[in-house]
Subunit: 348 residues, 2 copies
C-alpha cells in the first residue's frame, strides 16, 4: 500500500513523508534561523516568537539536525544555522524558489512507489496546478512503455508536476517537450554542460542519457483535464548494469558532485517561464527552442514504429503538436507521433 496524503496542504504548504518527520513547528524554527542566518538567535527569543518552551525549541532543533541541518549552539548567545542539507524537503525546495505556480505546493517522500502514480491520484482529487511531488527514492519507478526507471536513493532528482493546460490531448507531447527544454536549460545554466533533447522524452549529454520524462494525462479528446509530468535526472549517480542505451550522470560528466536543490529550483523556474509563454502566446517558442536543442534535427535516423515497421529518413523538424517530421528517401514527409528513434551513423 502506498502512503497517500489524505488531504492536500493549504496553499503554500509542504508535507514531508519519511524519516525523520519534519513537522510544521520545525518549519517555524527553521524559518527563524534562516532569517538570522550568519548571526545567532537566542533560545529565549526563539521560545518567545514560537510560543513554546525552551525545551520544545531544543527538541525541534534536534529534529532539524537529524534531517541534515547543521545548527551551532553557542553558550549564552543562542543558535546559528550553519548549513542546510541538499535533501528534497519542502522547505528547502521552496527556499529561494522564483516561481509563482510550479512547486508552490510541495509534497516530499523519503521513499514512494512512483511520484507519477501519486501525482495522478492527487490530480484526480483536485490538486492545484503546479503541485510538486518529489521523492528521494522510488520503489516502482516507471518509464515510457512500461519500462522501469532506476535511480540510486538520495543521489538524484525524482519528481512529478501536476499541470492543467487548456489544451487538447493531441498537444500533450508539447508538455513533454517543454519539460525537456526546461531540464536541458536548467542543466546548462547550473553546470555549463550542453544537454540536448532526444525526441520524444530523453535528455542527453554527449550521447549519454542523463534525464527522462514521463508524461501522463487524463483527458477528453478535445480537452486535457490534467497532465502529470514525471522527471528523473541522474544528478549524482547513473544506473548501473546493462541498459538499453548509454547513460551517465551530471556529476560524472562534471567530475564533481552536484547540489540537487538549486538544479531543481532552476528547472522549475525555466519550466514556468516556458509554460506561461506557451499559455499566453501559443506553443511556438517551445517548439523553436525544442528544435534547436534536438539532437535529431537534420540527422539521418531509423525509426521503429509501434507496429514494428521501420522507417529511415532525415528529421526535418516538428509540427505544431510536437510530432516529429521525417523525410523519407522518396521525398515524402511522414508525421511520427510514436516510435523508437536511433541515429544512423555514416559508415567508414
Amino acid at each position: 500500500m502506498k502512503t497517500l496524503p489524505p488531504n492536500l496542504p493549504p496553499q503554500g504548504g509542504g508535507i514531508y513523508f519519511g524519516f525523520p518527520q519534519q513537522e510544521l513547528s520545525t518549519a517555524k524554527v527553521l524559518n527563524l534561523l534562516r532569517e538570522n542566518q550568519g548571526s545567532c538567535i537566542s533560545g529565549e527569543e526563539l521560545s518567545a516568537r514560537m510560543g513554546v518552551s525552551r525545551t520544545a525549541v531544543w527538541k525541534q532543533i534536534h529534529q532539524l539536525e537529524a534531517a541534515g541541518y547543521q545548527v551551532e549552539a553557542i553558550p549564552h548567545r543562542g543558535y546559528r544555522l550553519l548549513s542546510t542539507p541538499d535533501r528534497l524537503l519542502p522547505d528547502e525546495i521552496r527556499a529561494g524558489l522564483q516561481t509563482r505556480v510550479l512547486g508552490q505546493q510541495v509534497i516530499c517522500f523519503e521513499s514512494t512507489g512512483s511520484t507519477n502514480d501519486l501525482a495522478l491520484e492527487l490530480a484526480a482529487q483536485g490538486a492545484q496546478e503546479g503541485t510538486l511531488i518529489a521523492a528521494e527514492n522510488q520503489t516502482r519507478g516507471r518509464g515510457r512503455r512500461e519500462r522501469t526507471w532506476i535511480s540510486k536513493a538520495g543521489a538524484n532528482l525524482l519528481f512529478s508536476l501536476i499541470l492543467r493546460p487548456p489544451w487538447i490531448a493531441e498537444q500533450a507531447p508539447l508538455i513533454t517537450l517543454m519539460l525537456a527544454v526546461a531540464v536541458a536549460e536548467g542543466i546548462r545554466r547550473e553546470t555549463g554542460l550542453l544537454a540536448r533533447i532526444k525526441w520524444p522524452n530523453d535528455v542527453l549529454i554527449k550521447d549519454a542519457k542523463v534525464a527522462g520524462i514521463l508524461t501522463e494525462m487524463r483527458a477528453q479528446t478535445d480537452a486535457i483535464e490534467y497532465v502529470v509530468c514525471g522527471i528523473g535526472i541522474n544528478v549524482n549517480a547513473a544506473p548501473a548494469g546493462a541498459l538499453r542505451q548509454p547513460t551517465s550522470s551530471l556529476s560524472k560528466l562534471l567530475g564533481k558532485p552536484l547540489l540537487r536543490l538549486s538544479l531543481l529550483r532552476r528547472i522549475l523556474y525555466e519550466a514556468e517561464q516556458l509554460y506561461f509563454k506557451a499559455r499566453h502566446n501559443g506553443p511556438r517558442s517551445v517548439l523553436e527552442t525544442g528544435q534547436n536543442l534536438s539532437c535529431l534535427q537534420g540527422t539521418q535516423v531509423l525509426i521503429q514504429l509501434a507496429n514494428q515497421e521501420h522507417l529511415e529518413g532525415m528529421i526535418i523538424g516538428m509540427d505544431d503538436y510536437g510530432a516529429l517530421l521525417l523525410r523519407l528517401e522518396s521525398g515524402v514527409t511522414r508525421r511520427i507521433t510514436s516510435g523508437e528513434v536511433s541515429l544512423v551513423r555514416p559508415e567508414g
Copy 2:
C-alpha cells in the same frame, strides 16, 4: 458520496446496485425459469436444483417480481416466466448478448452520479476491457466541455464502456467515432431510423440530436492506458427545456415506445465488430463508415475553435486520427481537432 463496488465481480459476473437488490441467488432462479420459458418448473425442482428450501425459492421469485419480472404461479404445476422487464439489469443485458468482450462484465445502478466517473475509477483499479457500467438515472450526468447530460430516469440508455486499445492518445477521437457509428448502426437496425453522425460526438436523426458520446482517457502521450466511452441515448424521452440544439427521442420519431435492452445489445455488438476490425486491420473501416454516416461530409460549415476563432469552409473528410478536414475558401485545407461545428444553410 458515490457508491462504488469495492471489488469487481469475477469474469462474467454482474452487479446491480439499487432497489430492489438483485442477488446472485436471484440470478440462479432466473436462469432456471429462463431455461424453461414457456413451460412450468415446479417449486420442488427449483428447490432441489438451487439447493435451498421452497420458502427461499418463493422469496427469490418474489424479488424477481419486485424487479419487474412477471412470474406465473400455477398450483400443483409450478412457476413460469411470463415476461422480463426492459430494465438495465445485468442478467437482462447479457441475455442474448452476442459479444465476446463488450458487456461481458456488467455493473448496473438504479442511480449514480455519472457512469463515466465510475468507469474511470474502475479502469484505474484494473477493470477488464469491455466492462459496462449502466444506470437508469444519473445525478451528475456530464457532456463534453463541462456541459451536463440530462436524461429522464428509467426512460433512456446511459452507459459507459471501458476499452484498452493499443493506440496512441492522438487516436482517441477514433474511439468516439467508432461508438458513434455503432450507435447509428444499432438505431438503424433496431428501428429503421436513419441516424447520422455530427462530428465529433453527436448522433442526429433529421437534424435533432438523439445521442451523445463522451470519451475520456488516461494516457501517456504515445500509449492509451484506458479509454472510457460514455453514451447517452434519448430512447423514450428527450430532455425538455431550452437546449443548445434541437433534440428528440427515438420513441418520438417512431411514434411508439421502444425496448431499450435489445437496442443496447445491438449497439454493443456493432461496437465490438468495429473494434475488433480496427484492432486487427487498423481504423480505416471506422473512418470510412464514419465518413459515410457523417452529416457534415461535403457540406458548408462554420467552425468555432476553442480560441474563439471562426472558420468557414467545406468539410472534405477526416484524417487517419479522426480529425476533420476543412477546405477554406482560399483553397487551403485546415485540420480541425476541436471545435463547435454548425451547418451553413444556403440563403433564400
